[in-house]
């Protein structure tokens, strides 16, 4: 009955689609919402036949995938929308050279955003680099589109983007699966300098070729099954782009209203013929699309060309908000206001509940590093602590308030450098995680060392890319398939640049770590403190059986609140006039015992 039908998340469906398409190479750098694509490619393929890797950053991931494609092998590259910012330089030129084996990019946008620093719209990247963009609206399409995208990529010799959002990536759907295909393996790079050596004399020709491809793809899309115009004998029409199709259908069902709906799943290039058809059956058209009003703008242009008399409504007309992720309520509200209907959702009150503020985990080594750093910094007249991306940016929340700024991957050192370059007198400290350091912090450090900048860099090394689910990075020692690989030694790397002050410290040993940080802050020149301790979520799974008998308890608490206010481990709480330790949350790192000024936190073993 359910032959081949499975329940899968969108990410799992995509991973399966990639194996059905016979990919030979899969690359990625972790990022919500698409981190599980590569993970599941490894799970489903058992890493047999597919070369899967977590690359050092997204630019690298894309270049490795493109190289494989040049050699005739199908390659899949996944990253979050912000990763494509990093890889855009490469993508725009790979679009010029074109591909051989299919090259498909899975890009996860975050319209709300729930786990990103900005909500950029990947369709603009597709437009900028002139590559086609497909947007599946459910799990089945997510899987099927991967196969279609590889065909498309090889037919027109272009990279293809599949744009998804968390709503597809993390939701579960029933998906009908197909057979996995044996990866094509007969790699050969056929030299073709006119194509691969991109220099001004030939890029003009490549540019022209790409423009022609774009026109052909638009015609191909117009005739394809990707887009569907569902006529409902109505005058009012809705252009529903990608996943928003679901909100449109749900809203129309709830309201009991009729509308013609264009399900538009080829969002770059948008086929003009398809838009013409929509215009010819409509009086007014509402455009529903996640993030920027791109289809709305295109529709307006085509409408004007065709002398369309009706209205084009959407984000530009403020019928739909331009900020945040869409939902059925928002779409229903827009439909109601346009059609003069009462909005059934306008009366509904959203309960006011306290927001849960995320905090660093119990036993997190980052908390100890921050504790030490701020103990030293507080004694200075002033300081600026510039953070970076990773779990440690959670330390920006009260009560720690450990960092003053946090931008994009690897920016801490550059921004800190900028403050110093501008002449800011206070001490500047950059705080950066290990994965982020390898991703793009290293280039910033090279720049700072070269120019002899006086600042301190704190590398918070917890062995993993923890924020996104503990993927390995170049310092971890194993790869995406769990195989042992070379470890890039941060100490040797930093010293080789000529950094004069380098200290390695264990954030669980507060005194020694404080000494290392104090020395770094007082040092004139560029100083690096390398805080090394495995992520607590990983280490707590490996608690030594002997340690099971160990317990930290509070005895003789004077309620000075130092631990609660400046350390704030979630395992500590106040009850009945004393600080207590939640034995359920505590991972027995023992750092709070070093934090307590009155030695009231004690280590006990079973005898107790």
């Amino acid at each position: 009955m359910n032959l081949g039908r499975k329940i899968l998340t969108g990410n799992e469906a995509i991973a399966h689609g990639a194996l059905e398409a016979g990919i030979g190479v899969a690359t990625s750098y972790p990022g919500t919402p698409v981190s599980e694509v590569l993970k599941n490619i490894c799970v489903y393929s058992k890493c047999v036949g597919v070369r899967a890797e977590w690359s050092v950053n997204e630019k690298m991931a894309l270049e490795v995938a493109a190289g494989a494609s040049y050699a005739g092998v199908r390659a899949l590259c996944s990253m979050k929308h912000l990763g494509l910012n990093t890889a855009l330089d490469s993508l725009s030129v790979i679009a010029y050279t074109g591909v051989n084996g299919g090259l498909v990019l899975i890009i996860g946008d975050d319209p709300e955003p729930t786990s990103s620093q900005t909500a950029v719209d990947t369709r603009y990247h597709a437009i900028l680099s002139k590559v086609p963009c497909l947007e599946p609206a459910n799990g089945q399409e997510a899987k099927d589109f991967v196969l279609e995208a590889f065909e498309l990529s090889e037919k027109f010799k272009v990279p293809v983007i599949i744009r998804i959002t968390p709503m597809i990536a993390h939701s579960i759907f029933i998906v009908k699966l197909g057979k996995k295909l044996k990866p094509f393996r007969n790699p050969k790079f056929i030299k073709d300098p006119d194509r691969y050596v991109c220099m001004p004399h030939n890029t003009k020709m490549l540019h022209d070729q790409l423009n022609q491809k774009e026109e052909k793809i638009s015609v191909f899309f117009a005739a394809s099954k990707f887009n569907k115009l569902e006529l409902d004998n109505a005058k009012f029409s809705i252009l529903a782009s990608g996943f928003s199709y679901n909100y449109v259908k749900d809203a129309l069902n709830i309201l009991g209203l009729k509308a013609n709906v264009l399900k538009l799943l080829t969002t770059n290039p948008i086929p003009e013929q398809t838009i013409n058809k929509l215009i010819s059956v409509s009086e007014n058209i509402l455009v529903v699309e996640e993030l920027e009003p791109i289809a709305e703008g295109f529709l307006s242009v085509v409408a004007q060309k065709r002398g369309f008399k009706g209205k084009i409504l959407g984000k530009l007309t403020k019928h739909i908000p331009r900020v945040g992720e869409l939902n059925a309520q928002i779409v229903a509200g827009a439909i109601c206001s346009i059609n003069g209907k009462k909005n059934p959702f306008s009366k509904i009150k959203i309960p006011k509940m306290p927001r849960t503020v995320p905090s660093l985990c119990a036993g997190c080594p980052h908390r100890s590093s921050y504790y030490v750093l701020h103990k030293v910094l507080r004694k200075l007249k002033g300081y600026n602590a510039i953070g970076d991306r990773g779990c440690y940016n959670v330390g920006a929340h009260p009560p720690l308030r450990a960092i003053d700024a946090c931008l994009c991957m690897g920016a801490s050192i550059g921004i800190g450098y900028g403050l110093v370059a501008a002449g800011v007198k206070e001490k500047t400290v950059a705080v950066i995680g290990d994965s982020t350091f390898f991703h793009s912090g290293i280039t910033a450090l090279i720049n700072a060392v070269q120019h002899g900048i006086n600042m301190t860099v704190l590398i918070l090394d917890n062995d993993y890319t923890s924020m996104t689910g503990h993927q390995p990075n170049p310092g971890t020692g194993f790869d995406a398939c769990g195989r042992k690989v070379n470890i890039i030694n941060i100490e040797k790397l930093v010293k080789s640049l000529g950094v004069k002050y380098y200290r390695r410290a264990d954030p669980y040993s507060l005194k020694a770590a404080e000494k290392a940080v104090k020395g770094a802050i007082e040092f004139k020149g560029l100083s690096v403190v390398h805080m090394k301790r495995e992520c607590a979520l990983v280490s707590q799974k490996k608690i030594n059986p002997q340690d099971k008998d160990i317990k930290y308890i509070v005895k003789g608490c004077r309620l000075c609140m130092h631990c609660i206010n400046t350390f704030a481990c979630p395992a500590l709480y106040v009850e009945n006039g004393t600080v207590k330790i939640s034995q359920w949350k505590c991972i027995k790192c023992g750092v709070c015992a070093q934090v307590c000024p009155f030695d009231a936190i004690k280590r006990m073993n079973k005898a107790w």
Partner: protein
Amino acid sequence: MDYNIIISGLGGDGVIFLSKVITSAALNQGVEVKCYQNHGHAKRGGSVVAHIRIGKNSFSPMIPFATADLLFSFEINEGARYLHFLKDEAMVVVHHDRGADSAQIAHLKSSINNLSIIDLTDIIKSIDDPNTRNSAMLGFIITLDCFPLKSSICKDALLMVLPKEKRGINDAAFELGRRAKRQKI
């Protein structure tokens, strides 16, 4: 009409686990299903919620406001957080340890017509494993008249996703939940 379910709780409660069980039960029963999961900060004990939509007329995995038929929650506040998703006649089941904060319960009582408050800790007290709470919750939920999936299919789906050594105690917890008297407050 489709049947819409919201499951909520905190990281570690088993919300995502149960949503997977119910979704695969629906698949096994041969009905259409989709499920939205939000577990942003689950590892850090934050809010976790799952939406399940059973039937072939719904599109988005996310349930629109005022259309959920059933909400069950492992925590009072995490239940109260999603009241705007409920239909007027929706069924609500909330776990609460005895010695309850009466203000919160009073608030729920005043806003919900069909409310059941159950004490899972009490229900599974004969089993020495708090992790079986969600199996007991599922056992309780399937006894509701409105619940659209067959109890045997749900139980099979539950046992299927568990490792062999955990099946015995979870089976027991499921049965305890199924037999628990509905305690209307």
